[in-house]
Amino acid sequence: MRYQPIEAKPGRAKPAVKKVMTAQEAVSRFIHENTYLGMSVSAAPAALIWEIVRQKDRIKSLDLTITSQIGMSSVLIGTGLVRKLEMAYNWGGIEGEDKVFRRAAEKGIPRPIEIEEYSNFGMAMRWQAGALGIPYMPLKSMLGSDIPKYNPKIKVVDDPYTNRPVALVPACNPDVAIMHCARADEIGNVQALGLYGNSDTLARAARHVIVSVEEIVTQDEIRRFPNLTTIPYYYVDAIVHAPFGAHWRESTYYYHHDLAYGLDVYRQFGTQEGYEAWIDKYVLGTADWDDYCRLVGYDRLNRLRLSEQKYQKFGEVR
């Protein structure tokens, strides 16, 4: 015995310090070549995706993990940044067929994309396992389907309690998670409002977490409704203030989906040339999210806000 005490390694908790930074800064600091990136669907982290595209020459390649993405992932895929996509669903939703995704998956344009597929809940449970620090989750989806046949990570085994088949999915712990939420304080206590999909789970699973928010609020506002805190500060690395940060998608209580715009974007995404022209103008051609919003028009964005708030507002029944 040497009487040298055992000391602990540092823990995973992020400190309770101010974390507000620009999207440019957050993306530069946490997202690098070959980053394993998790992306939420509700709300869509458009402001952060745009910034990743702006830094694409530095970042070069990403592996992407999503449950579903409705429209927004194409903005990344069309740049050729995405080497691999772990997914349950990737399509345009109401905007229609995702031609960007089809070009990548069918023809390797602008880059071949490796696809690893799950059901929605299957992928969500991978994040859940990651969030809980356990190696896998058992579930009752995907049994009997072709999904496990083409994805060796899904193991169909007999559950040791009932001797009935169960599908296992391995934990997923992305390097970085990006998401857009309603509000946060400066130290990173995040309150997503309305429906938020798996953003809570994804934040818990990821090593680093960047959250763009509609509003930065005081600590007292967080403490008024501590039950609404969906992501406590100890998971969060960066808070980016990005009003309208999910446009062309919606943000519950803040603004409505801009369908006229989304349909038009998808029309342009029909060809790779159209995609590139759009990216050049709206993403690479804008310096930051505020600049993008000016290009779209704050008058338009404000009308989307009024439209949403005519129907619903936080804390009210309308």
């Binding site: 669907v41 509700s42 409705i70 349950a88 669903y89 990737n90 399509w91 939703g93 109401i94 229609g96 995702d98 995704f101 089809r102 069918e106 597929e117 799950y118 059901s119 929605n120 809940f121 299957g122 969500a124 579930l139 009752k140 989806s141 995907m142 049994l143 009997g144 389907s145 072709d146 999904i147 083409y150 169909v156 009935r164 088949p165 169960v166 409002l193 309305g194 429906l195 938020y196 999909g197 798996n198 789970t201 998608r249 919606e250 209580y253 409505h256 989906h257 801009d258 369908l259 006229a260 715009y261 349909l263 038009d264 338009r300 009308r303 949403e308 005519k310 129907y311 619903q312 029944v317």
Partner: protein, 289 residues
């Protein structure tokens, strides 16, 4: 009951047909598009105490405008619960969903669906969206209703990829696979309505849409289609059902050419909301919702 409509579109017929499958008091897992139309019609007519769950985290909403997506903010409107997908998908895996509407690009005789690829998986001719929640619903919902186009090529002998399980390869197969949901009970297509036989689990034609010829239906199915000896004609939508759909979706975004109309036209889009707000509020009030 309201009398049958004289003018209605094929999508309206399909939505009304699905609406009649939903029973009062049920909890239904609804995607946007045609299933949402069906659900709204059901809630405003025969199933006022039925509630919707929406995949990305909402339960019991009463939206007065058109949801644009399964994760759309509209799905939170006047909801009992909003929050995580885990709540909604967890409840559905645990057997709390009475009925779910799903779809696919291909279907086989046992109601298995493909929404992943056409062609070889690793080298697809057409890459599709992927399962999303469809596989989960097909696995665990108490019953599913399938809505899909019938294009002459997509009722196939063998799927290119089995995304969402129906009855797999027949009786007992779901149980053997470990699935605890009930499987599909109906397929509502652009041509007719199909059921699954309790003995063989095979799909059979139960109803044929007004004006569709049986031979055309048979030609659009790649296997030897069983036809009910009591083949009926699908009941048309009522005037009220059509009115409800047109109030909620005046530009026929889901049931017609509305998307083309709105592409790039922000003013038309804003006007659609402005014009439909009061009629929807009045309609809901008249229904006591």
């Amino acid at each position: 009951m309201s009398k049958y409509a004289e003018n209605y579109s094929l999508p309206e017929l399909m939505a009304a047909t699905v609406a009649r499958e939903i029973r009062d008091g049920e909890l239904a897992f609804i995607g946007v598009g045609m299933p949402l139309m069906a659900a709204t019609v059901a809630k405003f007519t025969t199933a006022p105490n039925f509630n919707m769950m929406v995949e990305y985290g909402a339960a019991g909403p009463s939206p007065r405008r058109l949801p644009m997506c399964v994760n759309c903010a509209v799905n939170c409107e006047r909801a009992y619960y909003t929050g995580s997908q885990r709540e909604v998908m967890g409840a559905q895996q645990a057997g709390f969903v009475d009925v779910a509407c799903i779809s696919g690009a291909q279907i086989d005789r046992f109601g298995n669906l493909n929404s992943s690829v056409i062609g070889e998986y690793k080298n697809p001719k057409v890459r599709l969206a992927g399962s999303g929640g469809a596989n989960d619903l097909a696995s665990s919902a108490n019953r599913t209703i399938i809505m899909m186009r019938q294009d002459g090529r997509n009722f196939v002998e063998k799927l290119d990829y089995l995304t969402s399980p129906g009855y797999l390869d027949g009786p007992g197969a779901r149980e053997r696979a470990g699935l605890h949901g009930g499987g599909p009970v109906a397929v509502v297509t652009t041509m007719g309505v199909y059921r699954f036989d309790a003995e063989t689990c095979e799909m059979y034609l139960e109803k044929i849409h007004p004006g569709v010829e049986l031979e055309k239906v048979k030609a659009a199915v790649k296997w030897d289609l069983a036809v009910s000896p009591n083949l009926e004609v699908t009941e048309p939508p009522t005037e009220e059902q059509v009115m409800i759909m047109r109030t909620l979706d005046p530009l026929a975004v889901y049931l017609g050419t509305g998307r083309a109309t709105l592409t790039g036209d922000f003013e038309a889009f804003m006007k659609m909301f402005e014009n439909s707000y009061q009629p929807m509020v009045d309609l809901m009030k008249s229904k006591g919702l």
